[in-house]
């Protein structure tokens, strides 16, 4: 047995331990495999298994039918829910238009307005030209009249006029929504064209007053006016809604 007396004996313990683990792994695998494969049993055992499986399949088919029925019930309920969704969507759409969040189109009017054709005498100071230029206070009544005539969307030189819009002069320039705009001005409004135009052209109305000061101003009715969305939407950091407790 000299040949088997290997030089290093210290291999026995590690190999033994590893073989123990390997045997355990083999047992685990053998268990799992035999659990899955169909046992090579006699036909009556297999027949019993077949009957059991059929019962199981029948039960599962019944369950499918029950679940389908439930699905149908839920779907009917969901379509009723859709009516609520539609109301919410309508509200959302109204809010979007009011806040100027979307581009809108519809019938309306386009009003043009330019600085006065009157000119100052040569050599007079720059301040002398002031009365002949369009100011913020010239635009306020226009917007005001349009709103009172039921305009649903208004813009001045493509700047949407919404609740948070300020129209004001900052030095020599006029700003709408904080964006500088210059003459000639084009004010667009969506609403009933006849009412809107009438609100501006009534005797002694805004148009008449512009004309009296030699400001070229005119109103055109349009079948379709496109008004762009607001550039920067209003942010509400201070104002919080006060909600009445819901009556249930």
């Amino acid at each position: 047995m000299k040949h088997w007396e290997l030089a290093k004996k210290d291999w026995v313990l590690p190999v033994t331990l590893v073989c123990l683990v390997l045997g355990a792994l083999l047992a685990v695998e053998y268990r799992s495999q035999t659990a899955t494969t169909l046992p090579g049993q006699r036909s009556e055992v297999l027949a019993a298994m077949l009957v059991a499986e059929r019962d199981q399949a029948k039960k599962q088919q019944d369950e499918i039918a029950a679940l389908r029925q439930e699905y149908l019930t839920l779907q009917t309920a969901a379509s009723e829910q859709n009516k609520v969704n539609k109301a919410l969507n309508d509200q959302l759409e109204a809010g979007r238009i009011a806040l100027g969040l979307s581009e809108v189109k519809g019938p309306g009017i386009v009003m043009s307005l330019d600085d006065s054709t009157l000119r100052t005498e040569a050599g007079s100071s720059p301040n002398a030209a002031e009365p002949f230029l369009v100011h913020d206070y010239d635009l306020w009544p226009v917007v005001n009249e349009l709103r009172s005539a039921g305009a649903e969307a208004i813009c001045v030189n493509d700047q949407r006029v919404v609740g948070s819009t300020a129209i004001r002069c900052v030095g020599p320039v006029l700003q709408v929504n904080g964006v500088p705009v210059t003459s000639p001005f084009e004010i667009k409004a969506i609403g009933d064209p006849k009412t809107l135009a009438g609100s501006l052209t009534i005797p002694n109305g805004v148009i008449d007053r512009f004309k009296a000061s030699q400001f070229p101003a005119k109103v055109e009715r349009k079948d379709e006016v496109v008004i762009p969305a607001i550039g920067v939407a209003a942010r509400f950091t201070h104002a919080k809604s006060i909600l009445k407790p819901e009556a249930k």
């Binding site: 290997l6 291999w11 190999v15 033994t16 073989c19 792994l25 047992a27 268990r31 799992s32 899955t36």
Partner: protein, 129 residues
């Protein structure tokens, strides 16, 4: 006949777990265990060959057994997750080739021991990297 000690341990390990029915893996993971077993067998035969070549190192052997088993199982698992279900075949082929190569070498080394004057034969096929 020291070789009998590990063989007995193999049987004992098998018997211990087999008597314990709770110890089984879900069917879904059975294939990974079989790959791990293959890697383990590869490590054991590699270790026996090292013994015969008188270059056995117990740390290399034990770490090789466990790490290779886990890596092989992970390899097959990764293949399944990647949708390459046949990736385990790569492990089976690689490990199978190595096992047979090592078995062949063990046989030749034993023959060399038992038949005096026999030169150290080398298998024609090199082991896969």
């Amino acid at each position: 006949m020291t070789i009998l000690i590990p063989l007995v341990a193999l049987v004992i390990g098998f018997a211990l777990v087999y008597r314990w029915p709770a110890l089984s893996v879900p069917i879904a993971y059975a294939s990974y265990v079989s790959i791990a077993i293959l890697a383990g067998m590869d490590a054991v035969f590699g270790g026996l060959r090292a013994v015969l070549e008188k270059r056995f190192d117990s740390v290399t052997f034990v770490s090789g057994f466990f790490v290779n088993a886990v890596l092989a199982a992970l390899f097959a698992y990764t293949g399944d997750r990647l949708g390459v279900n046949q990736l385990y075949l790569a492990a089976v082929v690689a490990l199978g080739v190595r096992i047979f190569y090592n078995l062949g070498l063990i046989r030749l080394l034993l023959l060399k021991r038992m038949v005096p004057g026999r030169s150290a034969a080398i298998l024609s096929e090199p082991p896969p990297a």
